[in-house]
Amino acid sequence: MSEEKRLMKGNEAIAESAIRAGCKAYFGYPITPQNELIAYMAKHLLARGRIFIQAESEVAAINMVYGAAATGARAMTSSSSPGVSLKQEGISYLCGADLPCVVVNVARSGPGLGGISPSQGDYFQSTRGGGHGDYHTIVLAPKNVQESADLTYEAFAISEKWRIPVLILADGLIGQMMEGVTLPPEIDIESLPRKPWAVGHQADTGRAINHVTSINLVPAELEAANIARYERYGRAARELTRYEEIGVEDADLVFVAYGTSARVCQGAMEAAAAQGIKLGLFRPISLWPFPYDRLSELARRGKRFLAVEMSMGQMVEDVRLAVNGAAKVDFYGRCGGVIPSEEEVLAEARRLLGR
C-alpha cells in the first residue's frame, strides 16, 4: 500500500501505521482508552494472515511480545496506564535481553485504577525505566494523530537498530480524537533482514546456537553488560534526541510541554500574541533521550521557563536538571484527567511575567 490520506482516530492511526511498518505480531489486553487500537489490530492483522492474540492479561501480552521479539519479528503491544504498569516486568526483561519491540501507552489518569481521562502522570514510569534494574526505553511522545502515525512507523526501525524497546507515550485525548493523517507506505514484511541474534532458522544458516536471556549471575560480567548497554544508550541519545521549538528566540517566557499539554500551550501562545505578549514553546518529542543540552543552552541565554503538564509535576524535574539553576523554572499542572485550558495557562504565564 502506498502513502494515503485518511481521517482517523489516534488509536487507529497508530495501529495502521504499525501494520504498515511491518508489525508481524500484536498481543494486547482490552483497556480504555485504547480499545480501538486492539480492535483495529484484530481486524487488519488477521485479515493479512499475521498474528493477533487477545492475551489473558497485560503480563501475558508483553511476554508474548518477548517470545515473538526473540525470533526477530516486529512485535508490538499496547495498553493504558494501569496495564502498562503490569507490563513493566516484561519490559525490564526485554531490555535485559536487548530485544526490540514497540509498546504503546495511551495514558489515562492515576494512581491506581484512577480514571479513563487523559493524563501525563506516567512520565516518571516511562522515562526512568519503569521496572527493576538499570535500563531505559526510548520514549516518543506525539502531539497529534499525524505524529502518532509517524513516530509509530519509525519506532520499529529505531528499536531494531538500537535493540532497545520503544515506548510511544500518547494519552487518551490523542488516542480518541480524529484528525486527518497521511499514512506511510507499507513495508514488505518479507524484505526485512533476518536478525543474527534471533532464535530459529538455525538449520538454514548453520550459525552457532542463540540464547536469548537477561540472566547473568557473575557480578563482574553483569556489570560489564550494563556498562556496555549504557554506552549504547549514550550513542542512541545523541542520534534520537528530538524536540520542536516555536517562537523561542524572542520569547519572554518559554513553555516546556509535550503531547496534549504542548497543544494547549500553543493555543495560549497565539492568544498571548494577540495581546502583545511573546511566549515560546519548547516541546520535547523524545522524552528519553530528553533534550537536556538544548534546554541548557536556552537557559544560559537567559530564557525563563514554565513547564506545563497534565500531572503533579514530573517532566519539570528534567527541565530543572537541564537548566541546573541557570534559569527560573516554574510549573503549572492539572491532573486526575483534567486538561488545562488555554486561558488558565495564559493567565499563569501573565502572572509570572507580571503582565
Binding site: I53, A60, N63, Y66, G67, A68, E89, A97, I209, H211
Partner: protein, 283 residues
C-alpha cells in the same frame, strides 16, 4: 560397527549443576534423544523456566529463550506463532507452571497453542531452597510448611493435579504423566514425549508431558530414598499414564473419550479413580 547407544547430539557433553539424584538431567536427556531421533536439533527452541532448570540453556545444544518466572507459556506462544514449523518446548517446574504462571499455562492450553510443555513436578521449590510448591503433597514438609502441608487450619491449600485440570480444556490434545524414578517409568516418559513432539510437528493442539521427578536435596533424602519416596507417595496421588489423548493419529488416541467421567463430580478427586483408570490402560 553400528552405534546403538551414545550421548545425544542435542545435549552438550558437559557435567550439569544439578544435585545428585535430581531428575532434570534424565529429563533433559529424554528430550534430547527424541529431538535427535526426529532430526530436529537445528529446528528446536526451548523456553526455560525460573527454577533449577534455568540452567537448561547450558546443556541443550539448540536455541533457547529465557522468560520471566511463570511467563514461559506466553513467551513460547510468541515464539511458536512466529516459527510454526519449529519444535518449541516450554520447560516448566511446578512453581513456574502451577503457581506464578497459572494464568499463562491455562490460557496457552485453552488456545491450543501448538508447543509442548514439559512440566517437571517434584513437589517442592528447588532453587530457592525447599519451599512449599502448589504440588507439595498434604503433610509433606517444606521450609514454608514446617509441620507439613496443612490445608486445614493453616490454609495451605491442596496439591494441584495439573493434567486433570487442563484436561477439561478443549484446546488440549495430549496430556500425559510420567516419572523418572525407575527405568520402566523413564522409558514410558520418553514415549509420551515422543508422542507430544510428533503431535506438535503435525500441528495438533496443546500437548504436555508432566514428569514426576525427585529432589533429594530439598526432600532431605538420599537419592535412593527419593526414588522410593516418589513411588510410594507421589504416584498414588498423581496417577501415571496418558491422562488425555485426543490426537488424530497416535496409539492410545481417544483416552479422554473413554473418560467422559472427567467432567463428572467426584470422578477426578480420588487418586486412581476414573482418570487414572483410563490412563492405566494406555501406558
Amino acid at each position: 560397527m553400528e552405534l546403538v547407544y551414545g550421548h545425544p547430539k542435542s545435549l552438550k557433553p558437559i557435567q550439569t549443576k544439578y544435585c545428585p539424584g535430581c531428575g532434570h538431567g534424565v529429563i533433559h536427556r529424554l528430550i534430547s534423544e527424541v529431538i535427535d531421533e526426529m532430526g530436529l536439533q537445528t529446528r528446536s527452541i526451548i523456553t526455560n523456566p525460573v527454577g533449577c532448570s534455568i540452567w537448561a540453556d547450558l546443556y541443550f545444544d539448540f536455541d533457547s529463550v529465557q522468560p520471566a518466572h511463570g511467563r514461559t507459556p506466553a513467551a513460547a506462544t510468541g515464539v511458536k506463532r512466529m516459527l510454526p514449523d519449529h519444535l518449541v518446548i516450554c520447560y516448566q517446574g511446578d512453581g513456574d507452571l502451577a503457581a506464578i504462571g497459572t494464568a499463562e499455562i491455562i490460557h496457552a492450553a485453552n488456545r491450543g497453542e501448538k508447543f509442548t510443555t514439559i512440566f517437571v513436578n517434584n513437589a517442592i521449590y528447588g532453587m530457592t531452597g525447599g519451599q512449599m510448591a502448589p504440588t507439595t503433597l498434604v503433610g509433606q514438609k517444606a521450609t514454608t510448611a514446617p509441620e507439613g502441608r496443612d490445608p486445614g487450619t493453616a490454609g495451605m491449600g491442596y496439591p494441584i493435579k495439573v493434567c486433570e485440570l487442563l484436561a477439561t480444556l478443549e484446546g488440549t490434545r495430549y496430556l500425559a504423566r510420567g516419572a523418572v524414578n525407575n527405568p520402566v517409568n523413564v522409558r514410558k516418559t520418553k514415549k509420551y514425549i515422543r508422542n507430544a513432539f510428533e503431535a506438535q510437528m503435525r500441528g495438533e493442539g496443546f500437548t504436555m508431558v508432566e514428569v514426576l521427578s525427585q529432589c533429594p536435596t530439598n526432600w532431605s533424602m538420599k537419592p535412593a530414598e527419593s526414588v522410593e519416596w516418589l513411588e510410594q507417595n507421589m504416584i498414588p496421588f498423581y496417577p501415571l499414564g496418558e491422562i488425555k489423548n485426543t490426537l488424530a493419529s497416535v496409539e492410545g488416541a481417544g483416552a479422554i473419550g473413554a473418560s467422559g467421567a472427567i467432567g463428572m463430580p467426584g470422578a477426578i478427586g480420588v487418586p486412581g479413580a476414573a482418570v487414572g483408570t483410563v490412563a492405566a490402560g494406555k501406558e
